[in-house]
Symmetry: C2
Subunit: 336 residues, 2 copies
Amino acid sequence: MKPTIYDIAREAGVSATTVSKVINNKGRISEKTRKKIMQIMEELHYQPNVLASAMKGKSTYTIALLIPDMANPIYAQYLKYIEEYGQELGFNIVMCSTGSDPDKEAKHIALLRQKRVDGFIIASIFKNETVLKQLIQEKVPIALMAFERSELPVASVTGDDYLGGYLATEHLLSLGHRRIGIITEEETISGKERIKGYEKALLNAGIEVEPSLIVAINDPTIEGAEKHARKLLDREQRPTAIFGYNDVLAIGAMQAAKERGIIIPDELSIIGFDNTVMCKIVEPRLSSVAMPIQELGRKAMELLVRQIEGNDNTKQRISLLPELVIRQSTAILNEK
Amino acid sequence: MKPTIYDIAREAGVSATTVSKVINNKGRISEKTRKKIMQIMEELHYQPNVLASAMKGKSTYTIALLIPDMANPIYAQYLKYIEEYGQELGFNIVMCSTGSDPDKEAKHIALLRQKRVDGFIIASIFKNETVLKQLIQEKVPIALMAFERSELPVASVTGDDYLGGYLATEHLLSLGHRRIGIITEEETISGKERIKGYEKALLNAGIEVEPSLIVAINDPTIEGAEKHARKLLDREQRPTAIFGYNDVLAIGAMQAAKERGIIIPDELSIIGFDNTVMCKIVEPRLSSVAMPIQELGRKAMELLVRQIEGNDNTKQRISLLPELVIRQSTAILNEK
DNA sequence: GTGAAAGCGCTAACAC
DNA sequence: GTGTTAGCGCTTTCAC
């Protein structure tokens, strides 16, 4: 069996308390006993049982990350950076896909709370308002990542979606585009923000917003986007540029265009969002709006850990600014 | 505070023991008390504390997944399917990137064992032989996924890499290619197997293996592959086809070829491995060897859970067969 | 059918 | 400086 704190105590000829104190650097211990205990712990390969100490109200050093769907590489990236930083800080990450389903959200949260995770990072979307409110009320550490709830007192780090939408649109406008389609994902806060940015940019350029150019889809896959992009492209007056809510959707639009024999960027400019690896491997390479993902992940962890450690109870809402990454999929409008 | 088993017991006018029995469906309980207890648990939103029951030797219903690096989409997929199936089975997944670093591997394992995870799924690579052996010796539930250790008694599910390498090479041979380069990842079991399959296919076709056409890289990124592919392509007698150890490396080779103005597939055929989403978005679309990832993930979970539940102590080694997915990146050799 | 008591491995008062 | 004691929330004999 694994040695317990008592085994160490017995070997060292002291009490369990003393050993505990050494482990946690608490109280006064003579250098001599401390050394001895340390040494014995080494010898016996003693590993404190995290469960037991968690039962005494200590941290489990485990946090949960809730994401909608691992299939989108952006979430894999979130996870990557969060886990990376978590390692530095000594936290493990338990990963949960919710499929954007409020019931699954609730189930996961309930289960993970039973397991006494220290807190939750919720990425991109969370539908179950009731559960979220309750979490906040019970002061469970939470950090929202890549979305926020302006009417709820909860820490969040977001990329500035409004600005992102604005920048992407402004870029297309500067290339001479006037009819700009946008394929977004239904029911996402960030989608709405990006649309607002898009609209504002059009407005600033003196262009009226044409609602039919805004397509919201509920199946945020390449195929889903392809299907809807086709409709946009088959319109009589087809858009000369398409702004995708994320790279996946933008690439779906690319596929649809290629299928129709429409040349990118000559006949159609396309811009994505998130600047995932995929941008660099499609042809032409996809222009995109880059959010500082790594920073986003680190800040989310930071906000969460601050709450867990309870040093500082001021919650923050951090907004990180996106940057435009121009590649080959956007070009000056070629009037026929 | 959250209600404990005692709160329920008090409300129901019974002892904690009885409540525990109801929760775990053990012993004899009258239908009447059972009903009553159930109802009260509902009312109080009682959630048993998993930590406490884990301390009594029960399962934590948490397993760890160790992968080398989240940046490769194939690992995101592993995670996706494992987590999906884990949800069905009631397990949470804690995700750990090891960066293929033996020290990190050891640290993670130690930490997670302190946290009493029920078992480990180790994907693709594990360098720390000592730790692995110890785990096996201590009968910690483990399932290897996408690699195996023929000399160790440990459950594993793999795609048949030898066959995969064989099929890919055979495909290229059938297209008339004779000088086939291969870019593989250093120090991976599956890499070695794929090379064996490659060599066997060449042998069967009566072609001598040319060692300089086999490039093993230690930086398994697009950029890393690009760099090494350039060398292959700059040879006097350059290969007419390249087989990538995985899609990432194959795409790196594609990039290098494009950079050199080499037309794929007319002047160079390329085939990848894993059949990730990326295959469908590069141009030309990448032929690849598809492993049944979802099945791989599910089987790994199955093997692990079987050990955890201890019903069946026979360990298995399962090999799933790959399939060739032919797309546009491979074509008949065009003799100049 | 049900409950009392002990204990999983640890920590936190509070003595000494 | 160090030890005694109690208890976190649960499960498990074993007795009734």
